[in-house]
């Protein structure tokens, strides 16, 4: 009976093996597992390594995917060349959270040895890695707002071709007071840096031109239903929203569902062109002030929009456009240093000196903090002018040129105030 218990078949399999061999094999296997991971081939000389920190998972994914599309549209158009060098793009998904951004930034810089970084997307992601990129001296071009990184805590390795968070909202505040003749506005935006800085910018300019903010509402970044907040909008003649990602869609719906009819103004993300295909009729009448508008009829923009449509069958919004422009800036900078990005300080200086005229967003140049000085477009969402098969369109109704991050205030005066935050500027009696 017991003979049946010794599996003969097993013995056959282990014929050649002894216990010693088993021990040795296990030890060898463990050693191999602990040995260094195979490192990807690090090309030292030829290709220019470009890293992209984007978000492909989570509520901000919508913007992140657009970012990548914008970069790839540029690379496909120029056949993966910048400043005479071949470009190697390495994309990393930060997951839309600061800890993930730090890990991916480390991956790009330490493992993939990138020469420059595009992104990250969100202000809080950028704030998490600003010290690190400064230490590593890696030029970073981001869409992230984070005002102070080009103001009171400037990072010399940072360049922003988009807009500081408050930069687009300051002209919006001016426009709302002077042209829309609004006097009492309720602001509503997400409860994070980007939201505070946008609303702060709006409030400063709006108050300067005679307006007053009645109250400020701050729903969290992830809010399934905006109704409890929309219900608090009252006693005003206008609403200023600063939502990002896909939140503007839901907010406009919730707002329409309350039956309120006050005009709504917003900034660069609240009425983003990429959302045009998803907005419903409730969004008609939305006024936005943005660094980029798909409406712009120039050769540079038309080429870009057609590239996006051809490659991805999608209308570009801020995220895609700014990434495309950033690529143009890198290419120009690389050209200026003759293709040699190894001297990081020199490369950074060349990037900051770039001045372009024919980009999808119009003329581009940078101030001494590395923030853009450019044209901002005020648009109205409606059915007029709709192209590319869309039902809704953001039609440009006013243009502000040469707008810097300080709007009309002298730089010193602006910097003397604290950075825009949840409570700054403070609410005053209306």
């Amino acid at each position: 009976m017991f003979r049946k218990l010794t599996p003969r078949k097993e013995n056959l399999a282990f014929r050649k093996m002894t216990r010693r061999a088993l021990l040795a094999g296990t030890a060898a296997g463990t050693a191999a597992a602990l040995a260094r991971f195979p490192t990807p081939a690090i090309a030292q000389a030829a290709p220019f390594k470009l890293g992209l920190l984007t978000v492909k998972t989570g509520p901000l994914a919508q913007g992140g995917i657009q970012m990548e599309q914008g970069v790839l549209t540029y690379l496909k158009e120029t056949n993966y060349t910048m400043g005479g060098r071949k470009v190697d793009l390495v994309s990393a998904d930060t997951g839309g959270n600061p800890a993930g951004t730090k890990t991916k930034a480390q991956e790009l810089i330490e493992r993939d040895k990138v020469d420059a970084i595009l992104g990250p997307l969100a202000a809080f992601e950028l704030l998490a890695i600003t010290d690190y990129i400064r230490e590593q001296k890696t030029p970073t071009l981001s869409v992230a707002g984070a005002d102070d990184l080009t103001q009171r805590r400037p990072n010399p390795y940072f360049l922003r071709a988009a807009a500081a968070s408050s930069q687009a909202m300051q002209p919006m505040g001016h426009y709302a007071a002077t042209e829309m003749k609004l006097k009492r506005v309720v602001t509503i935006s997400e409860d994070f840096a980007f939201g505070y800085e946008q609303m702060g910018g709006f409030q400063s300019a709006f108050q300067q031109d005679g307006g007053c903010i009645v109250s400020k509402l701050w729903p969290p970044l992830v809010t399934p239903d905006y109704t409890p907040y929309a219900a608090q909008i009252s006693d005003c003649d206008g609403v200023c929203q600063g939502f990002a990602g896909s939140n503007p869609l839901r907010f406009m719906k919730a707002y329409a569902n309350t039956g309120l009819k006050y005009p709504v103004v917003t900034g660069e993300t609240g009425g983003d062109d990429a959302l045009l295909k998803s907005f419903g009729e409730e969004a008609i009448g939305l006024i936005s002030c943005t660094p980029y508008t798909v409406d712009l009829d120039t050769a540079g923009n038309n080429r870009f929009v057609e590239g996006m449509l051809k490659n991805y069958d999608t209308i570009p919004g801020q995220y895609a456009a700014i990434m495309y422009v950033s690529c143009q800036v890198i290419a120009a900078g690389l050209q200026a240093v003759g293709g040699d990005a190894s001297d990081k300080e020199k490369f950074m200086a060349a990037l900051r000196a770039v001045s372009l005229t024919d980009t999808p967003r119009g003329p581009v140049k940078f101030d001494h903090f590395g923030n853009i000085v450019g044209t901002f477009y005020v648009r109205r969402l409606g059915t007029e002018g709709a192209k590319y098969g869309l039902k809704l369109w953001n039609k440009t109704i006013k243009t502000y040129e040469n707008v810097s991050q300080f709007w009309t205030w002298p730089e010193q005066e602006f910097l003397a105030h604290p950075v825009y935050s949840r409570d700054y500027p403070p609410l005053t009696k209306c």
């Binding site: 010794t6 097993e10 600061p98 993930g100 809080f124 994070f192 969290p220």
Partner: protein, 326 residues
Amino acid sequence: MTGRRIGVAVAILALIAVPFVIGEVYYVNIASQILLYAIFALGLNVLVGYAGLVSLGHAGLFGVAAYVTAYLLAAGYGHLVAILAAIAAGLVVTAGFAALALRATGISFIMISLALGEIIWGLAYRWISLTNGDNGISVATRPAPFGLPLTSARGFYDATLVVFLVAVAACAIFVRSPFGAALCGTRDQPRRMNTLGYHVWMIRFWAFMFSGLLTSVAGILFVYYNEFISPQALALTASAEGLLMVISGGAGTLLGPVIGAALVVIVKNVVSAYVTRWNFMLGAIFVAIVVFMPEGLVPGAVRLWRSAWRALSRREAAVIATRPQP
């Protein structure tokens, strides 16, 4: 017994050698992450593996220590003060958790711990004036114990390794102690333990505190590693990943959580560079382990290894027995 001691010495030497063998800063950082998450997993394992209480809210405890450290550092206090205060705060909150959660066992315990974890997360997320909400709190410097700076990857790794070894030693002592045995008793046969005169609730409570201590230490290491803390680190997903580490490695074993932590960290960071849908992979691995190898990777591997060893020794004995005698 000497075999085991040699094994332990070899393992320690191997761990010390890691930064030298793996030259690249990036991978040394991954190793640091594995160690600090291993401490988290070891802490969770005390409850899950040895006390039989599955917690889905441990990221909350992790986060309390991390946030207290970051908050005090940002307020201008020194590292020592911040660390001690964080551990103290972590223990206080753990005691609160324990007092509420230990009223239940089994599935109820899971639910209460989940709710408590969510409460802490909700406070971190929405109590903006205290925690800065989604923007998180940045930590400017790392401590320099005994004057040795931890700013480099290698330096941080060495410090984390020391803490890790202490944690493992503490767990080993704990498991082999009479208290540890009693804890396993309460896991397997709570009623009998009660009958025998053991105060089941108190045993579980102290186990919970020990777990909380380890988790707090991991939280402090985490905030120093990232130099940043935000509510994402306390979300339900973070607790779930912790559970994944413990279960996949092998709950109730000493090495299991360490292997599990290595697995999860590697999939999240290294594999994610090659496989875009790593979340799916993580979930699939988890399901596969729970269904096919529920005791976890370490016990499963040990089981396979032992059965191979036994089969071979039986074979060799048989061969020797049938050899012609001179």
